[in-house]
Subunit: 343 residues, 2 copies
DNA sequence: TACGTTTACGGCAACGTTAACAAGCAGCTA
DNA sequence: TAGCTGCTTGTTAACGTTGCCGTAAACGTA
């Protein structure tokens, strides 16, 4: 096979200058329609494809590449998010450069710096837990590279983002448990110090308040975890603590499905029947949830749609100078067997 | 912030030529150690970082980028594979360009062509189901770009690969079921026409043979599926068919965990007790498996290790001209509650 | 002294592309 | 007819880097 055709080849074949060829292929003005036609024809004949590497150097930015960084690809939500991003990216002829932070803010910084060095045209970031906005993200924005923050929020951040309305989700979960007839609703929460944990706690409390139920701080159990395995263990421990109270809860809104798994394990070992003795609602509709016994009620975050929109925001931000794109997805309550008392 | 320092800046600061600076920074000969020291010092002072874009053009290949393509990121096995690849890549300062084939051979081709166009230094591919080696992969190899095939095999392929020893895995699963005391072992299989399905069927039959058990083609149920949801449904259907036989099986080796979920659903609806009436063994130790009731025995494929090795193979192939790297991972049998009869 | 060899460096070209400027030419106006 | 205008094309430089070649100075050898 011959080497790839370049502008020069077309130019020589037609006895015109390289510039003229470039003009024809880039739909520039200042070109005779006849010349243009013959150039286009020749380009097709020689199967001309522009050289991305040269273009990148010329424009001093990689062409059609977005950097995407998430804490863990293997978490279901992030992999669906990624799926959405890749769908849209593929449609728009964009490449996805992928990195994982593994919930380390240092690694996150390293990956983002690498992205910059590689000259990505944009960055889509699902921040790690203690992500440092000023240190990690701000430098990218200063380079005028479009950034879209996904999934969780930075304090006082006012750029492009796509996230879940955690507050509303938690509120709905609690409302549902109340309507199902549960009276003492606990929340196994994630740290108050990051947006997801914070907003869900707020939604939980507001849910209780609006239904005229007391807020008992003993029913708020905060735990710390970074991956699924820890999640289940933490859930188990938290559940154990809740059931050591004088008056244990009769329902638990769990900040994630993984933690709910720990609750299930504790319940099974202690002969606590779900949903009869204990109602449970999780968060994120992980693939496991519907196969649990009983199937777990939870909130669907629709990672795929979020991913698609995140890419779309990036794409629009590229050409809209200064305009900011924001969207908060209301999660959808999925009611299954774990939170409905049989009549 | 100033713009990034380039060779010219260092050269002007020290009154030497650009070439000399380049030599110093690239550990070339023909340079005075003293000059070299001062150049290195100045490079550090100006925080010089080579411009990848320019380098890419010069070498006409993107620097430090591998293209990775898998059928679906959201499948647990592939996401762990990806995790392994990214770990190793990150360590070696490589970027990962990600694509999904979604089990479409056309899309696979498109993504691979895009990779080539982008000038990746290597390609790691987990082929889609009906992937066309000659059309999709061969052109890349012809460009002398190192390729590592992961997870499944092409017929007569003799390049770099990393996969699961599906034959041994299936063999072990069947042996285990025999040793547990099951007598009529069925296999819900995947299509015989691709390596994974084929090898597992072979392993299943060989397992029966070596334990002196008859091979009943009625107990071999082949089904077709491309994603989890279909998997469970197909499993359910296949199970239904098996239990319509005059003499239904008392154990099922399922080609994937997803299909095993369908088996569980059928069993629950029809009051078939696992493991008492029916032993079940799955494949791939998906995250769901240990949370099923009873927990599902299965085969761990260790995607992370495979991913790490796949990248390692690529990396070594870069500099080892012609040498071929191959590794078949023996999956590890994980015995849980679904395949052991109580004494 | 004369010549070859080594050491250390600089100049130029090239990777493929595009932007800015220059320039040729036809047609039109005064 | 001189000069202006608009249309079309070509020339040059630049993006940042490295490989090739050339060469001056210092050194060694007969």
């Amino acid at each position: 096979m011959n080497r790839r055709a370049k502008l020069k080849d077309i130019a020589e074949a037609l006895n015109v200058s390289i510039t003229t060829v470039s003009r024809a292929l880039n739909n520039k003005t200042d070109i005779n329609p006849t010349t243009k036609q013959s150039i286009l024809a020749m380009a097709k004949e020689l199967n001309y494809k522009p050289n991305n590497l040269a273009l990148s150097l010329r424009k001093s930015s990689t062409l059609n590449v977005v950097g995407v960084i998430v804490p863990h690809v293997k978490h279901y939500f992030f992999s669906t998010l990624l799926e959405g991003i890749m769908n849209s990216a593929h449609e728009m002829n964009y490449f996805v450069l992928l990195g994982e932070s593994l919930h380390s803010t240092d690694r996150e910084k390293k990956v983002l710096d690498d992205f910059s060095e590689h000259g990505v045209s944009g960055v889509l970031i699902a921040p790690c837990k203690h992500s440092d906005f000023n240190k990690n993200v701000l430098p990218i924005i200063h380079r005028r590279t479009p950034v879209v923050v996904m999934d969780r929020m930075y304090d006082n951040y006012n750029g492009n983002f796509v996230n879940t309305n955690d507050f509303k989700g938690a509120f709905e979960a609690v409302s549902h448990l109340v309507q199902s007839g549960y009276k003492r609703i606990a929340h196994i929460a994630s740290s108050d110090s990051w947006s997801i944990g914070h907003e869900r706690i707020k939604g939980y409390k507001e849910g209780l308040r609006q239904h005229g139920m007391p807020i008992d701080e003993n029913y708020l159990s905060i735990c710390n975890f970074n991956n699924k395995e820890e999640g289940a263990e933490e859930g188990y421990r938290a559940c154990h603590k809740l059931f050591s109270l004088k008056e244990p809860p009769d329902a638990i809104f769990s900040v994630t499905d993984d933690i709910a798994i720990g609750v299930y394990q504790y319940a099974q070992e202690n002969n606590i029947s779900i949903p009869n003795d204990l109602g449970v609602v999780g968060f994120s509709n992980s693939e496991i949830s519907k196969y649990l016994n009983p199937p777990l009620s939870t909130l669907e975050q629709n990672g795929k749609k979020m991913g698609e929109m995140a890419f779309d925001f990036f794409f629009r931000a590229l050409n809209a100078n200064g305009q900011i794109f924001q969207k908060s997805f209301k999660p959808e309550l999925i009611i299954r067997g774990s939170s409905v008392l049989p009549k």
